[in-house]
Amino acid sequence: MAVQFALQRRLDISFLRSSLTFAAGLLLGGVLCVALLVQAGVPADMLFEDLVWQVFFQTDGLAQTLTLSIPLILAGLSAALALRVKFWNIGIEGQLWLGAIAAMAVSINGIGGESYRWVLMLLAAMAGGAVWIAIPLWLKERFHASELVVTLLLTNVAYQLLQHLLFGVWRDPTQSFPISPAITASERLTKLGFGNLHTGLFVSIGMVLLVMWIMERSRFGFQSRVLGANRRVAEASGIAVGTTLVVMVLLSGAMAGLAGGLLVAGTEYRLTQHLGWNMTFSGIVIAFIARFRPFWVLPVAVVLAGVYNAGASLKVFYGLTEATVLLMQGIVLLSLLWCQFMAAFRIDRRKEVTV
């Protein structure tokens, strides 16, 4: 009697099963990354030292990790907000740049009083990001154009705009690189005296808490939860689906823009070409690992920042490039997706009907 295998979708996935497969995915991804690094020449005994100890448990390393996490937290938040309502925001980087540009514009044009200009800069950054995502949102609603590709292409457009400004009207003549003039002292975010860490960290964490609060305790947050879970039920319950979607998406853009603003006002103090390396993909990975929940974005973003930080020193010591970190993120994401299969499906063994 032959045995045949058939794939059957599980109707009822227990919390235990989904947690275990999730953990398995992370573990698998982690193991592959470690193997990768060892293969590249990082001595195995140094791995823990470089990847964990230095970046989380040494003062300098921790400070740098936390600094790096500031924009990552917001990128993860941005991705989580958009993906929750099934809006594929693959243009986080572009929104980040628009935010940075907007913040810089406020500084260069001296808008507002000196003492509170930094607030205006950050608000402008949020507006910049929101505007940039409003374009694909509108194109989707009006023309049914896929936001997937438009957000991406707009990232390229944003980069060109950035270049245009940096090589043009905003170029600092005293510098040989194409960067903008530095922002004034009063516009800079205060340093916390812990490495490069600045008050922007509070802004990022504050945003997470704000979003959490809105999601948990506001009527709007409740409705967006329902919208993300089951759109038909949301409609049948009388929820204004269209408005909810727009607000969530604009919020997503604003978070990305704010990340750009914080980079300008807190870390770089200028507009440069190198802001926001691979923020889009990192944001999506963070959001996915955090299961799209704002609270979990925080620790996941910090861990990923640690990886980026380690990557920087791996680059110096072992000649690895930034591409390595991107590769590791891709491996972890794919491992998680593969392991999800075990949670979502069941393989039935079916005996052939006796002939």
Binding site: F222, Q223, R225, N230, E235, S237, G238, I239, E352, V353
Partner: protein
């Protein structure tokens, strides 16, 4: 594959279970060459599953299929095709972008001769002529009418060498003229030695156009291989309905019935693909009454519900609730007037399964702003949820528990607890007891009755005739998007059945 005509096909003792549910229990019948055999039964009786076993979509748990004395193993669609079994589904499986001939080529795996466009087209044309039908093999399926597509599908299946043809409710979507043409073609098919299994609801077709009939009820064969020559429509109807004992009716407490609550006039609505779903429907619901809408599923019931709720735009018609015109109102506005909805597929349409129970309970009230205009209190929601769980005896539920884990009966209790709140005036209930055990059914019925006793009204749309007869004060019958008739709540099963399946 042999092209010789087959002699006999026996289906014996076929059983099929899906998880806990037994869909087929020892079902079977016989088919001879040159015969048109009708397969009759209500929705959910197991006709589709039985045919899915014959066409290789599913594999039976028990039982056998015997062709010309040889048992055959049909494990996938290709096996069925190899044995000469072809099916024309209710929902056609033709690739719309391709022409009819290309669709034939697509399926002509085992028939290399048909893999050239000109040969395929010619074969289709010949087949069509033999049946007395017209067909343009080069026409794109997307451009064909429903009747033409059906003809194309039939010719395709025959061209592939089907000796046994299964037709699933072929005349359901055809006009009278088209039906007549098709039934004639079916007869010609049988005359050439093919065997035809005709799945139908229409007694007129059974009596007038089939040789034998088999009736399924709840997965079992209640009558098989009966020669139709000697049967009347009434006899067949009786066999199909079974002995439905006059159920215990619970007449409305509010006597006499009060003012008009929900009035729908001339409602017309279409599905997404443009086909008409609701055609000139008029409904009048009065305070304290339950109006039941009986009918076979798929005849526009879901679209009617959605149109009434505001989820589906109406093409024309007016709607009034408690004196207010709601024809152009949004869903939230209609809910504000007291309209509530218990949809058929709760998992898809009524519940957000991944969210906690408290969220699902509070859903509509949060949406309407009753739990707070801007801010809501999760603790408050949790407490309200606990109260509702206790009051409605929703077992296995805790406010923070995931909704997906609730059993069917308890999930439905949740939906009812939410929808039938104190502001509910009219409830639209679509198949509210589908998939529920007897006890849960009783709870649902009691809740609906309770609504009417405090002055509300219920529009009950259900395929369960017994349920309709138990609860309804008046009964409407819906067929092909129209209301074909109205009967008092005391009508007998046969009277209702006649309106339901007599059809046109």
């Amino acid at each position: 594959m042999s092209q010789a005509d087959f002699q006999t096909l026996h289906l014996r003792g076929l059983c099929k279970r899906f998880g806990e549910r037994t869909v087929l229990d020892n079902a079977g019948f016989e088919l001879n060459s040159g015969e048109v055999h009708a397969l009759l039964g209500e929705n959910g009786a197991g006709k589709s599953t039985l045919m899915n076993l014959l066409t290789g979509v599913y594999v039976p748990d028990q039982g056998e299929i015997v062709l010309d004395g040889q048992p055959c193993s049909i494990r996938k669609p290709a096996d069925a095709t190899a044995h000469g079994i072809g099916m024309v589904h209710q929902h056609y499986r033709l690739v719309e972008r391709f022409s009819v001939a290309e669709n034939l080529i697509l399926a002509a795996d085992r028939v290399p001769e048909l893999q050239r466009l000109s040969v395929a087209a010619k074969t289709l044309q010949t087949t069509a002529e033999q049946l007395g039908l017209t067909l343009d093999p080069y026409a794109r399926v997307a451009d064909l009418s429903v009747a033409e597509r059906q003809r194309a599908e039939i010719c395709k299946v025959l061209a592939l060498g089907a000796r046994i043809l299964i037709l699933d409710e072929p005349t359901a979507v055809l006009t009278d003229a088209e039906s007549a043409s098709l039934l004639a073609a079916i007869q010609r098919m049988a005359n050439t030695g093919k065997g035809v299994i005709l799945i139908t609801h229409k007694l007129r077709e059974v009596v007038g156009h089939s040789d034998r009939v088999t009736i399924l009820r709840q997965g079992k064969t209640v009558a098989s291989n009966l020669s139709t020559g000697s049967l009347t429509q009434a006899q067949i109807a009786h066999l199909m309905m079974g002995d439905v004992a006059a159920p215990q009716r619970q007449p409305s407490n509010l006597q006499p019935h009060g003012a008009d609550l929900l009035v729908a006039v001339g409602l017309n609505a279409s599905r997404n693909d443009g086909s008409t779903a609701v055609s000139d429907v008029a409904i009048r619901l009065r305070r304290g009454e339950i109006v039941g809408v009986a009918g076979v599923g798929g005849h526009g019931q879901a679209q009617l519900c959605e149109a009434l709720m505001g989820l589906l735009p109406v093409d024309s018609g007016s709607l009034q609730l408690d004196g207010f015109s709601i024809s152009n109102s949004s869903v939230s506005q209609r809910r504000g007037y007291g309209l509530r909805y218990i949809p058929a597929d709760r998992a898809a349409n009524a519940l957000a399964l991944e969210l906690p129970v408290s969220d699902n309970l509070a859903l509509t009230q949060v949406a309407s702003g009753r739990k707070g205009r801007l801010w809501i209190s999760p603790k408050g929601l949790s407490q309200d949820a606990q109260k509702a769980i206790t009051e409605h005896r929703i077992t296995g539920a805790s406010p923070q528990g995931v909704t997906r884990l609730l059993s069917g009966g308890n999930a439905q209790k949740l939906v009812l607890a939410r929808e039938l709140d104190q502001d509910c005036v009219v409830a639209i209930a679509h198949s509210p007891t589908r998939g529920l055990d007897v006890k849960s059914c009783g709870t649902v019925h009691a809740a609906l009755r309770e609504l009417t006793s405090r002055g509300g009204a219920v529009l009950l749309i259900s395929e369960d005739l017994e349920e309709i007869m138990t609860l309804s004060d008046r009964i409407l019958v819906m067929n092909a998007g129209r209301i074909t008739g109205e009967l008092p709540g005391t009508a007998s099963a046969n009277e209702i059945g006649a309106l339901m399946i007599g059809g046109h």
